[in-house]
């Protein structure tokens, strides 16, 4: 179980971005963290994985624990060794490396070469298309293949917990479905704990067991995914539906998505 207790994060010594975030990701479950852009979702993931330092960010208060062990204040490599790996948003493959080299790099914290070989085969079994592309330079893969690669690469460290930042971003619906199907399988077959950050609340609540909604650096809503799906606020603001079931802020949603695509 991954637990955050009252986490505060400050950037540049003065900008308070997380204002006391508490959440729990149960073992072998998918927990989703929803919220508009700028809410602090990515910052929450980085607070867990120890990757705030390189951005002049700092956890100034609170505790991050994995099965009772403190993770906050650990440098990023140690967090990976403890079994938590983050997948960045925007499909950040090592562009100049081949697919297989990406996977080897992902296994950096594992010393036993045989288990690395084994891990690579397991990733290829989960994502057969990666096996076909194993010697291709990853910068030239399609968006969907790159998303599969970054998830597969994270699995190479043999994590207990995987932190996924907006894996659906900019992908065609069919591909998103495929990737979410794989995430579900990873939970069911490997008992993987998943903390899934998403803009696409409908999709996320569809595969998640539990959900949190974040606004302005705070958790404002929490509950089982089923309950959140029925919640009228969520329907209105995050699923874009109003009481009669028509899209309300469709234009905003669409505008937002377009902006995100430019950025990615």
């Amino acid at each position: 179980m991954l637990a955050l207790n009252n986490i505060e994060v400050v950037y540049d010594g003065v900008i308070l971005v997380l204002k006391g975030v508490s959440l729990v990701a149960e073992e072998g479950r998918i927990t989703t963290l929803l919220g508009a852009n700028g809410a602090g979702k990515t910052t929450t993931l980085k607070a867990i994985s120890g990757l705030l330092h390189s951005e002049r960010g700092q956890v100034t208060k609170g505790i991050v624990e994995l099965d009772g062990e403190r993770l906050d204040r650990l440098p990023a490599p140690d967090v990976v060794r403890h079994g938590v790996t983050q997948v960045f948003e925007g499909r950040r493959v090592f562009e100049n490396l081949t697919v297989e080299e990406n996977l080897v790099a992902g296994a950096h914290t594992r010393s036993d070469f045989a288990s690395v070989r084994d891990g690579i085969e397991r990733v290829y079994d989960a994502f057969p298309v990666l096996r076909e592309r194993r010697h291709n330079q990853s910068g030239y893969l399609s968006g969907g293949e790159q998303q599969m690669l970054v998830i597969g690469r994270a699995l190479m460290s043999d994590p207990k917990v995987i932190l996924l930042d907006e894996p659906s971003l900019g992908l065609a619906p069919l591909l998103v479905e495929e990737i979410f199907g794989i995430i579900r399988r990873l939970r069911d077959e490997r008992n993987l704990t998943v903390l899934l950050v998403e803009q696409n609340a409908a999709l996320a609540l569809d595969i998640a067991d539990h959900g949190y909604v974040m606004e302005n650096g705070r958790i404002v809503l929490e509950g089982p995914a089923e309950t959140l799906r029925q919640n009228s606020d969520i329907k209105e603001f995050y699923l874009g539906l109003n009481e009669v079931g028509t899209r309300k802020s469709y234009r905003d949603v669409k505008h937002y998505k377009r902006r995100k695509r430019w950025l990615s």
């Binding site: 994985s49 990757l51 390189s54 440098p75 990023a76 490599p77 967090v79 990976v80 060794r81 790996t85 983050q86 997948v87 960045f88 950040r92 090592f94 562009e95 100049n96 490396l97 080299e101 990406n102 080897v104 790099a105 992902g106 950096h108 914290t109 070469f113 910068g139 030239y140 690469r153 460290s157």
Partner: protein, 299 residues
Amino acid sequence: MPEFEWQFTLVLLTNGVMIGLMYALIALGFVLIYKATDAINFAQGEFVMFAGFIAAGAADLAGAPFWLSALLSISGMVLLGFGLERVVLRPLIGRPVIAVVMATIGLAAVLRGSATLAFGGGTRAIVMPVGDEPIALGAVMLPPVQLVGAAVSIAFLAAFSWFFLKSRIGIAMRAVADSQQVAMAMGIDVRRYFALAWAMAGVVSALGGVVWGAMLGVDNQLALVGLKVFPVVILGGLDSIIGAVVGGLIVGIVENLAAGYLDPYVGGGTKDFAPYILMIAALMVRPEGIFGRRRIERV
């Protein structure tokens, strides 16, 4: 006017290849650092000079045999690489590129000055135990020092290529070069790889210092071979080992042909600027070099 003559051209070409391989060796030091840390090391020539001083000094002052002075030079340069990374470069991580560039320029001056302080201003010799009798390579006679230099260059260029392409540490280094942030998320300790890159550049510089020092003698002028690194890496590509080899060969051959065919008309000196003319032309046509990677642009 020298008639075009096969024997003469063959001598120039062979010499160019030998010298070019030795340029490639010192360019490799530059490429290793650029590849792994994105830093441009303007002190590469001074690294070579300093390594030469350590080797020559060990032989002259302490009477060390050749192999021992070479080994001392290698260890000294590894320590220097680690030390510089820790004290000078690490605090500059995340600062603008110009800060690192200026730091390495400062470093160059410090190395030149401290070498003179420690070893005096005179020219010292590195004596390889291979004799002076020219060795015939086909129809061309070559000094043994040059042959050793070329052989050492080939061996280490091949070893480092293998290391980068195939070893897990090499793959991790390339991952760091690709994206430091993502590498960190994979549990790669980026700073350790920066230190490793500087240490490896130290090894390469030591080898360069010994072979170039054996050929030219060791004094402050030895740092000037470092200037040739720039045309080599601009032609070959800043981040490519193969590029360093090809760039080195081009520069070696061009300067020898220039010396053989142009110098008689203009009274000498073309050897020193011909590679730079080529470099400027290359910058206009293909700024990333022959083997340098272009940024992948996707829409």
